[in-house]
């Protein structure tokens, strides 16, 4: 029961803070809220017994990617008056509406699934408790076994895509430099 309760608390808090995040004026505040959301997600994974995903979530997202985000935000360091917030257009309202409806649909579907099938049949409950001695070291093993057998191709393709993105960003950065040199 403790698992469900903490999962629900963290989930609700994450949704609430996400709402807060997209409505903040200071970019730094939004970034900090995003970090807290990442940590809440990690907590949710941890409560489900997926320790490796939880720790990876913190190392990769909260510890590395968000540090770069914050770095860029601070490097520009614009006060909210200088950030020009445009008026919301009708297209954006439609998009937000679609997203909201989609979230509502998904939420009710999952939520109803809970209510109809009873709490016990969901994966949330079937998750093994994290601190069961026999399961020690099994989690990482399972993740890596799956990653390097069934999902090897997907894994390699994703890593290639990321490599392509890195090379692309270097190319763009180099071009800008050449243009600057020409213009000056």
């Amino acid at each position: 029961m403790a698992i469900q309760i903490s999962f629900l608390i963290m989930g609700i808090l994450a949704v609430f803070l996400s709402g807060m995040m997209i409505t903040r004026k200071w970019p730094v505040t939004a970034a900090m809220l995003l970090i807290i959301i990442m940590m809440l997600l990690a907590g949710m994974y941890g409560v489900l017994g997926a320790h490796f995903s939880a720790v990876a979530q913190i190392i990769v997202y909260a510890g590395a990617i968000m540090v770069v985000f914050v770095f860029v935000i601070m490097l520009l360091n614009l006060p909210p008056e200088e950030l020009r917030y445009g008026r919301i257009t009708i297209n954006e309202i439609i998009l937000i509406g679609i997203g909201f409806l989609g979230a509502l649909f998904l939420g009710t579907k999952v939520g109803l699934g809970y209510l109809v099938s009873g709490l016990n049949s969901t994966t949330l409950i079937n998750a093994r408790p994290p601190y069961y001695p026999a399961e020690m070291n099994e989690n990482v093993k399972n993740v890596s076994t799956l990653m390097f057998t069934d999902y090897l191709w997907a894994f390699e393709i994703v890593s290639f895509l990321i490599l392509a993105a890195i090379v692309g960003s270097i190319v763009i950065a180099k071009k800008a430099k050449v243009n600057n040199a020409k213009s000056s």
């Binding site: 190392i59 510890g63 540090v67 360091n77 001695p133 990482v140």
Partner: protein, 369 residues
């Protein structure tokens, strides 16, 4: 769901408290050690007078006097700062620095009420990655302090800290993977018990002898991760006044150091556990002692006897390593910022990658575990 017994809950909480208590004591003691060591290197005396009543004890009363001074100083908040973040920033390194102490392995295990109690309070199956995860969050304290101070020097300090952290974390992660290959686990307890064996008949089976390149890279990166000289570009008094600390005073200022020293302690514990056999005495493994002493004292009691011995050995190794930190601080001058970035990306990362590939090939042929 498997219910945790009361014994396990209480012992886990006690172990966590032990970690937090030790972690919090590191800052005052280390501040004294650093001043004395600095004085010795510079042929001065250093703080050697403050004692308790008439006992001078090498000036060890100095940290207490410092703490009293810092607590009673006026807690001044400059009017131009971003108040919420300014107040929040010093708390971040303290929380992460003390929280990470829960993952310290103090010993193998003891038996309480017929139940095995693991002496590593939090033993997740992702092992020591938890320490990495929590330590990577400490930098937000520095960056937030830099940004919220509303001061150009502070901002530059915060920016430098975040860029430095991201650059060195890559090399740090890469340098540790060879050890995971060699020991075949992420669990610190298993690593330590493997290191209690003997290599070639005369060397202790330490990670240091299996992966010396990893050790050097890891050592350099933890200097950078904990913001210590020669990598304390975020503070760098010579150029940035005091960097992210410029607008801080009194207890808020010292909170940064509490977190920093605690993190340094945990990083030293991690280094010792991975490269120097943790709580195991070299050549005399706890297993051997257990076999020797069990007939006279019984197994349960022997494990209890081994607990303080293990903690003592661990702390001795950690103290030696931290002394090395201090020695380096007053020996090597601070890097320039471009040198720091060059060292991280041009030298450490490629070396770590080559080391990783070579170790992977070797472990494919020779099974270490």
């Amino acid at each position: 769901m498997v219910e945790l017994s009361l014994t396990q809950i209480i012992s886990t909480i006690l172990l966590m408290l032990l970690g937090i208590a030790v972690g919090a004591q590191v800052a005052p003691i280390m501040s004294w050690v650093e001043r004395r060591q600095c004085a010795i290197i510079q042929r001065r005396l250093g703080p050697n007078r403050v004692g308790i009543f008439n006992f001078r004890i090498f000036g060890l009363g100095q940290p207490i006097a410092d703490a009293i001074k810092l607590l009673f100083k006026e807690d001044f908040v400059p009017p131009y700062v971003h108040k919420a973040f300014y107040v929040m920033a010093p708390v971040v390194p303290v929380i992460t620095g003390l929280a990470v102490t829960v993952a310290i392995p103090w010993g193998s295990h003891v038996v309480v009420n017929n139940q095995i109690v693991n002496l590593q309070a939090v033993n997740l199956n992702s092992g020591f990655l938890l320490i990495f995860a929590l330590s990577s969050l400490a930098v937000y304290g520095v960056t937030l302090a830099g940004w919220s101070s509303n001061n150009k020097y502070s901002l530059l300090g915060g920016l430098r800290a975040s860029a430095q952290m991201v650059s060195y974390e890559v090399a740090m992660g890469m340098s540790i993977i060879p050890l995971v290959f060699i020991w075949g686990t992420l669990d610190l307890q298993v690593m330590i018990s493997r290191q209690s064996e003997i290599l070639f008949g005369f060397l202790p089976n330490w990670g240091l002898f299996h992966a010396p390149v990893s050790f050097i890279i890891f050592l350099v990166t933890i200097f950078a991760e904990t913001n210590r000289l020669p990598f304390d570009l975020a503070e760098s008094e010579g150029e940035l006044v005091a960097g992210f600390l410029t607008e801080y005073g009194a207890m808020r200022w010292s909170l940064f150091f509490l977190g920093e020293y605690s993190m340094m302690f945990v990083m030293c514990v991690l280094t010792v556990s991975m490269f120097f056999g943790g709580y195991e005495i070299p050549w005399i493994s706890q297993h051997l002692l257990l076999d020797l002493l069990s007939p006279t004292f019984g197994e349960a009691l022997t494990r209890w006897i081994l607990l303080p011995i293990g903690i003592g050995v661990l702390l001795l190794k950690v103290v030696l390593l931290m002394w090395f930190f201090v020695q380096v601080r007053f020996t090597i001058p601070r890097f320039r910022y471009d040198q720091l970035m060059k060292l991280g990306w041009v030298y450490l990362l490629p070396i770590a990658l080559v080391n990783l590939v070579v170790t992977a090939i070797i472990t494919a042929f020779i099974k270490f575990h």
